[in-house]
């Protein structure tokens, strides 16, 4: 029996697994679509990750689940919220982290973290989709630009379209009329990014943190959003190579802690 552990993050869009050894080294990870069955998705993610690490699932000594579907992982030894996991994962990757910004598909959260990686306070967006990945998704569909291409497009923008509405439906109609007025696509995309950033920035203001900032979640891959956020918070932001798996990484750290 080796000291391998698994952290698994069952999110609304993807399910991610991270395998870690006793020395907190990441051996492998996987990202699969969650689909309609969270339990199946969790098993698939674990199997894929185990395969990549050359391990059998039976070799894993502890499993911690997080994410919206954390209750749907019957094998889990423990369940922890994604808030605690993103905090732990971010501090592991960037020890100077004092604030984590996680812009996810359904919601966004801003977390204030202590040096020990523990959550000190957090804010989440309200029900509305403004300031979340969902907002970007709706807009990417409207503009017929692939979601992962939006960041690069906006970087090339010279000007910026003003999108003032906070409501996704209103903003969508603003975008439609910008398109009708032949406003350059990249400027619209930049305006959309600005809208997300302003919304999330308002959340960060509530926690008033002066130290290091780390961005996690799928939207952290969007260079346009990150650049505007850096401009807004006035300092460089840490972005992990695989921002999506930070939750699962945190879960794995919890699994080690509990051993």
């Amino acid at each position: 029996m080796k000291g391998w552990v698994i952290g698994i993050d069952v999110g609304s869009l993807t399910t991610d697994a991270v395998i870690m050894d006793e020395d907190k080294r990441v051996l492998s990870f996987s990202i699969v679509d969650t689909g309609y069955n969270s339990t199946d998705a969790a098993r698939e993610a674990m199997t894929v990750a185990a395969g990549r690490a050359g391990l059998e699932l039976e070799d894993v000594s502890r499993l911690v689940a997080t994410g919206y579907g954390r209750a749907a992982v019957p094998e889990a030894n423990k369940r922890v919220t994604e808030i605690a996991c993103h905090a732990a994962g971010a501090v592991y990757l960037f020890p100077d982290t004092e604030m984590v910004i996680d812009i996810g598909g359904q919601d966004s959260k801003v977390i204030k973290v202590g040096k020990d990686g523990r959550v000190q306070d957090f804010v989440m967006n309200d029900k509305c989709a403004a300031g979340t990945g969902r907002f970007l998704e709706v807009m990417s569909a409207k503009l017929k630009i692939p979601l992962d291409g939006m960041g690069d497009i906006s970087i090339s923008a010279r000007g910026e379209a003003a999108i003032s509405s906070v409501c996704t439906v209103f903003a969508e109609s603003e975008v439609v009329s910008l398109v009708a007025r032949n406003c350059p696509k990249e400027e619209i995309v930049k305006g959309i990014h600005r809208s997300v950033v302003n919304r999330v920035w308002a959340m960060t203001r509530q926690l008033r943190v002066s130290g290091g900032v780390t961005m996690t979640g799928g939207v952290a891959k969007n260079r346009g959003v990150v650049a505007l956020m850096e401009e807004r918070v006035g300092r460089r932001i840490n972005v992990p190579d695989e921002p999506q798996i930070v939750g699962a990484l945190g879960a794995a750290l919890f699994a080690l802690r509990e051993k």
């Binding site: 919206y68 994604e82 808030i83 605690a84 919601d107 959550v119 306070d121 309200d126 029900k127």
Partner: protein, 366 residues
């Protein structure tokens, strides 16, 4: 499903009260009103806080930025579910309820008498108390025209009765804060909230029974939180706190402690006694109390109940509460007390997001 059952039983109860006891029934909107006065006139107040309905008709009358307490209250009237009520009473709680009262009275043409109750707003002055008493007397003479004369002796008895009930409610709160009441979060509020429609003859025995059967000497297990906001809804929040072993040890809820935990009454004149009750209620956003006062009240409660954190359960669009929250939350955090602010519709199912927030908050408590 259980919501359906709840309306049915409430409906049956109201009908029984009318047929068996010859009582009249008054639909009462939130929050503060002199229930003693109504009960003394053999009128049963049935409060309308969170009817188990979905908004259907009300959106033809109210904008989307009006809270669910007000829109569902109107929905109840519009769906014709108030046929058993003899009248409505609208206390002056906030702008939305104020205008709702006027929509119902002036615009809907529902042919049911509407009564109004204005209570003076803080900061109280010397003029506040005589005005409050004059309002009580005006309400009384208004009601007398529809419901017959009120005898002073009945009023006195009713005031004493409510005082006894309030004492027992206070006892429940005290025992709970000391960890000596063995009850779930859900059970506590489901008993307490029966006061919203049960007659004292039925409510008081229920409450005393709950008090006696729940007493325990074992220490509290797990973390304790103080609940603030408008009302303990959705009840699934209470269930979830029960499930993760977090106990609500005290509250600052408008529908609960802020209406019930007033000081002892010393005056023998019933109107003076009712005024004494009103002016000794805990600080409240809808009555104009200074934020500082409310903060100190909450801090005192946290100390006496050894709460580990505070959860604000705020109904979306509730202005009186949302203006107070930032300073309260900020000041509490400065005292090292973790705070969670949840914004919700009153009958909204518990979303995964709210569950996550509650659990992450519980993790923060240690």
């Amino acid at each position: 499903m259980h919501l359906d059952l709840e309306t049915r039983t409430r409906k049956d109860y109201i009908r029984e009260q009318k047929s068996l006891h010859g009582r009249k029934v008054m639909g009462v909107f939130p929050a503060q009103y002199p229930r003693e006065l109504l009960l003394a006139m053999n009128i049963l107040p049935v409060e309308i806080w969170d009817p188990p309905l979905r908004t259907r008709e009300a959106s033809a009358h109210l904008q989307s930025y009006i809270c669910s307490v007000v829109s569902l209250g109107l929905e109840l009237i519009l769906q014709g579910k108030c046929s058993d009520l003899d009248a409505f009473l609208f206390p002056h709680t906030c702008d939305s309820i104020q205008n709702l009262a006027s929509i119902v009275n002036d615009y809907l043409g529902i042919h049911k008498p509407c009564y109004f109750f204005y209570h003076p707003k803080a900061p109280y002055k010397r003029a506040s108390r005589p005005y409050y008493i004059s309002q009580l007397k005006e309400l009384k003479s208004g009601l007398e025209k529809q419901f017959g004369e009120l005898r002073e002796t009945d009023l006195k008895r009713s005031v004493d009765r409510w005082e006894e009930i309030r004492k027992d409610i206070s006892k429940c709160y005290l025992l709970r804060s000391e960890g000596r009441l063995n009850t779930s979060n859900r059970a506590f509020y489901s008993i307490l909230r029966r006061v919203e429609y049960l007659h004292p003859d039925d409510f008081h025995p229920l409450l005393t029974n709950f008090l006696q059967s729940g007493r325990t000497e074992t220490e509290r297990q797990g973390h304790g939180v103080l609940l603030s906001g408008v009302l303990p809804n959705p009840p699934e929040v209470l269930d979830h706190l029960d499930a993760i072993g977090v106990r609500v040890v005290d509250d600052d809820l408008l529908s609960c402690s802020r209406r019930f935990l007033s000081g002892p009454v010393s005056n023998s004149d019933p109107y003076e006694a009712m005024a004494e009750t009103y002016f000794s209620l805990p600080p409240c956003s809808t009555r104009g109390s200074a934020i500082e006062e409310r903060l100190n009240h909450i801090l005192k409660k946290i100390r006496s109940s050894r709460a580990d954190g505070v959860i604000f359960l705020i109904v979306k669009f509730c202005e009186p509460e949302f203006f107070d929250v930032p300073i309260l939350a900020d000041s509490l955090k400065k005292e090292g007390i973790p705070v969670l602010v949840l914004e919700n519709e009153i009958n909204q199912a518990l979303s995964g997001q709210i569950v996550t927030r509650i659990e992450a908050f519980a993790e923060m408590l240690g």
